[in-house]
Symmetry: C2
Subunit: 158 residues, 2 copies
Amino acid sequence: MRMSEGVEWALHECLNLTWLEPGEAVTAARLAKYYELPTAYLNKQLQALTRAGILDSTPGPRGGFRLARRPEDITMMDVVTAIEGPDGAFRCEEVLRRSPGDHEGADYRKSCIISQSMRRAELAWRRELAAVTIADLKEIVESRHPASPGAILRGLRT
Amino acid sequence: MRMSEGVEWALHECLNLTWLEPGEAVTAARLAKYYELPTAYLNKQLQALTRAGILDSTPGPRGGFRLARRPEDITMMDVVTAIEGPDGAFRCEEVLRRSPGDHEGADYRKSCIISQSMRRAELAWRRELAAVTIADLKEIVESRHPASPGAILRGLRT
DNA sequence: GCGCATTTACTCGGATATTTTATGTCCGAGTCTCTTGGG
DNA sequence: CCCAAGAGACTCGGACATAAAATATCCGAGTAAATGCGC
């Protein structure tokens, strides 16, 4: 069980984009260069964020990516779901269905206590991630590292 | 991000083993046959559980696997950790270290707010799983499906 | 009939293939900008 | 000087390789039981 590395990239880049002027866009190449990431692969993640309605993309010169909505309206859960997909980590394959006996009309994804317990745990995980917005992250960074926003802006623009 | 299917198998088999007589062992072949699982691969998972101290294994005739401790002392988290390994789903690769500027002596696994938030979420997940023991599962099954234990025992012994 | 050495069959355990997933790369479609020529 | 048409360059977007991990399989080391032999 390992989360895609793209999640870490996506969260950092979303956070970085919060410090841009409204309407200002940054290309995938500049975002990638800032963390020395492979440009084309980061682009792939940014596309996923765009499909999820988290980013807006504009092609052509002066194009690039920008946040599609206010940072207050983007949760960490939104970003994780955009990159990793909507399915949870535990996928009940209903092994009980293959055991001896009759299983007519049984949905073990719902009735199996193991499946239920795993789902309950993942729900707690999702709740934590859904409680933190990009705006929260921005505020904490500005409070702890006041010099960072300026440095990031400079990095993204050069 | 997808959890190994072996986790589902391991949980079900640990639960099944709770209904055996004390000291009674079941071979990997019988455990696999009950759910029509690939024997050798299930054996691999059982080995992982053995290394983790959850199961005891004895070779030779009349050998097999049994629980190494009381079901009350085995949590779902124990089983998940045994199969998936000790590392969490989110692995902070410290992308901040690759950004412009000085990073002497910084441990972004601890200081980065994104890493912190992800860890907090996983902690909530672990807490839920650690709160449920195999004994809890056993009790619920016996309460909801009184006929199951007998059927399982018969299945494992034939 | 009883005890002991030997054989035999059975089990786990780890080393070895195969399939799936994640990672990384490349080139084309579309769009905005800049240039350039004419009015 | 102003405007419009066209060329050019830049960007995203999805299709295509490569690397890593999960899945599945096989065979050997070790063990306990069963067998056969001698007493």
